[in-house]
């Protein structure tokens, strides 16, 4: 059962090559209606053209800044809320299940409400993304801070460390890995929800462009945008994994 990692890499590569080849072939022989899957070269040239336009970069700028704002708010509020809740055992026991239960409802349901209150511009996406990303961050902060190994807390008391010192030297460092996971999940949720909000109802941004391309029946352009988003997602995912692995290796 000792297959080399090279063998599985080969299969993955083969898979990718096969998929791309199939795409190319399908385009050549018009096997699939070009509305659903335009030929690969059409998408490629559309992408090339797109990158040169100013509106491409401004759309990306809008989306990125929306994500940054949404995530920033989610992090600050989430960590703060998580910290405050864990100050009291009673509060933790009462509020944690409430927050957890709220999270089990798809926050997407509330998107229309955000649009109603904040309008159709980026503000509603910031609010929506922040609201969605808040939950995993808050929940993980609560989990991390409330489940610090009792032995370390006992050791801190035995060493005479003050209450503040315990928070600083024991609780935060112990909770950090869990909180970091929450921050990671929160990021990808903010990322996806901003894009979702833009796709469903917006006037600008990447998501809006994808929806618009579909409305205008310009599949090549839509696919070009999709390729951009997929590439960005994969790069981000890879970067985050690499950073996490590096931190864990310490």
């Amino acid at each position: 059962m000792k297959d080399s990692p090279a063998a599985s890499r080969l299969i993955q590569l083969g898979f990718l090559t096969a998929a791309l080849t199939a795409w190319y072939v399908a385009g050549r022989f018009s096997a699939i209606p070009p509305l659903f899957l335009p030929p690969i070269d059409a998408v490629w040239s559309s992408l090339n053209g797109l990158i040169r336009t100013e509106e491409f970069w401004s759309a990306i700028g809008v989306t990125l800044s929306t994500i940054a704002k949404a995530y920033g708010i989610a992090v600050v509020l989430g960590v703060l809320a998580g910290y405050l809740v864990t100050r009291s055992r009673f509060l933790t026991a009462v509020l944690e299940p409430v927050i957890s239960a709220l999270f089990s409802i798809p926050i997407t349901l509330f998107l229309p409400l955000f649009i109603l209150v904040f309008g159709i511009g980026t503000a509603s996406k910031v609010a929506y993304g922040a609201a969605y990303g808040f939950f995993p961050i808050a929940l993980n902060t609560i989990a991390g801070l409330s489940r610090v190994d009792r032995r370390y807390l006992a050791a801190a008391r035995a060493l005479g460390i003050s209450a503040f010192g315990t928070v600083r030297h024991v609780m935060w460092p112990a909770a950090f890995p869990v909180i970091l996971t929450g921050l990671r999940i929160g990021f990808f949720i903010a990322f996806a929800s901003v894009l979702g909000g833009e796709t469903i109802s917006s006037v600008e941004g990447v998501g809006r462009n994808i929806a618009l391309s579909a409305e205008l029946l310009e599949p090549a352009r839509m696919y070009a945008w999709i390729v951009v988003v997929v590439a960005a997602a994969l790069v981000l995912n890879g970067a985050v994994s690499a950073i996490e692995n590096r931190m864990r290796g310490e």
Partner: protein, 249 residues
Amino acid sequence: MLAARAAILAVTLVAWEVAARPTGGADLIAPPSAIAQALFATVLRDGAIRSAILFTLFEVLCAYALAVAGGLVLGLAIGSTEMARRSFYPVVLLLYAIPQVVMLPLVTLVFGIGPAAKIAFGFSHGVFPVLVNVIAGMRNVNPLYVRAATAMGAQRADIIRHVMFPHMATSFFTGLRLAMTTTLLGVILAELYVSTAGVGYFTKLFAENFDPAPLFALIGILAVMAIALNELARSVERRFTHWRTASTS
């Protein structure tokens, strides 16, 4: 504990009611009383809205069934051999990392604006947790059990059935619960995007007419539906995995 939660709920509702009473401009967030009224007078009364909600439920259940079946079969296939897992699991995880919502316009192009698109989108969201959990669940099987079974003369299919399947059952049921949430998410996203009929039409209608009370009411019903489905999935998970926690305590 229950009293504390009920108290929080009550306080929240009261504060909300007080704060949202029209103060000339703060009309966009309806007070609970107006919402309750809209719920019974408008939303539930209207046959079109009722059937839109029920239809959404129908779409969710279809998508869910497909996602579970698909995820299970595919997961068993990928997870059954080391080679398959090492090759395809990273692909699955990579796909999982892509925000699917950007495919939504494409899905509507391909499937049209009817229920097919919503079921398809719900399926593509729901299949991943099942898939990932089945594969992961098959992973940590104690090789000792496999060896013992082989020594007793079991074939590959037998091993999958008697050793790996029960082992991954726990993960599978967890996946079932998660899949319910994500399927819901997918269907809702699709419904909101396609605003020419169904639930999405009504949310758009109420939003554009700046009519908050029925909007809140409609979303409230959907939220209740979401919670109910979640609880159902959670209790199924608990029922089938309680032996696990009992034996490890």
